[in-house]
Amino acid sequence: MFESLKRLYHKFGSPKYFYDITGRMLPWLVALSVLLLIPGLIYGLGFAPPEKYQGNSYRVIYIHVPAASIAMSGYMLMAVAGVVVLVWRMKMAEMVAKSVAPIGASFAFICLVTGSIWGKPTWGTWWVWDARLTSMLILLFLYLGVMALNAAIENAQSAARATAVLSIVGAVNLPIIKYSVEWWNTLHQPASIRMTSSAIDPEMLYTLLSCIAGFYCLFAVLVILSTRCEILLREQRSSWVKKLVGV
């Protein structure tokens, strides 16, 4: 078991293998995300029953919640990749971490925008300095810091290592920031975003789950595409890339 894990790890550590295997996975992932996302969103935005109190405005949830979740897990993914970069010096992890940052930041941004669109009808204001909104804003800032650092260092490898340190420090701090912000302003109730199964209608729940899964597939597709570009860029002088692009 351990041996095969190790083998898998080494395989994924090779850019060529990663490029090949993701090339084969990509169509499936695209298909999966289309299959989950299109019906999920159409049904969620158009046909799912309106919520008892909020009417139709709650429908933003089908974008808002997946985006929030992906923004968070994207950061965690980046931090884990950072650990791999620092401990095992794996090149693939450097490229993945670099690709995740802007995509995760975009999802954090989407989450903020949809949150504020949702906030207008529900709370009567576009923006509240509410715990969840604020901590998502800070998450976006953390992403931006990582991206800025990455952009500032010319050498790709040292940029990757420096951002790895920063994203790990950020990940360690994230729970503390989240907690303190939540404590600082407990304005709105967690219920609006956290869905316990008893509190949500199954019809809405399944739609939401489909959207979440679909957005995760989309996230995976985006990360893979961006990583593949990075691989070609970094390995441009290796023989397999030369052969691939036909030089």
């Binding site: 109190y53 529900t122 304005l187 709105h188 609006s192 509190a199």
Partner: protein, 146 residues
């Protein structure tokens, strides 16, 4: 013991002690009421400061909502033990209704009268915000099942 290993041991022990200390401080801090959240009972007992922005949480007493001119509204809040009155000028959230758990931000004017500048309601009927729920439980009443 070889000195290199001794150094390493000291570092590890230091980290353990530090983590322990930090956890201790955290648990102490968690027991303090630092977010200025008060229940109607606490306000009735005079624990909350006057003229300071505080948070009050409780359930809106059915039949207590009185609307005045210019969006003036007043209602009572209860934790099933004591009642206080909240005065508010502004648009109440869509989800505000009688029997609902809400959190009001504002100043304690006198005795049990709170002048709120912000009123927030929860979104779901089955859900009581943890602070409100805690306050109700503290006052000796278990959660009401709806």
């Amino acid at each position: 013991m070889n000195p290199k290993r001794k150094q390493r041991l000291i570092i590890v022990l230091g980290i353990l002690v530090a983590v322990g200390l930090a956890t201790g401080l955290m648990t102490f801090a968690l027991r303090e009421n630092i977010n200025l959240f008060f229940t109607p009972s606490e306000i009735a007992e005079g624990k909350a400061p006057l003229q300071r922005r505080i948070r009050v949480g409780g359930l809106v007493v059915p039949g207590s909502v009185k609307r005045g001119e210019d969006l003036q509204v007043s209602f009572d809040l209860t934790d099933n033990a004591q009642q206080i009155t909240v005065r508010y000028a502004g648009i109440l959230p869509d989800l505000f209704r009688e029997g609902q758990g809400i959190i009001a931000h504002g100043k304690l004017i006198s005795g049990t009268l709170v002048e709120a500048d912000e009123v927030l309601a929860k979104h779901d009927e089955n859900y009581v915000p943890p602070e409100v729920q805690e306050a109700i439980e503290k006052a000796g009443h278990p959660k009401k099942e709806s």
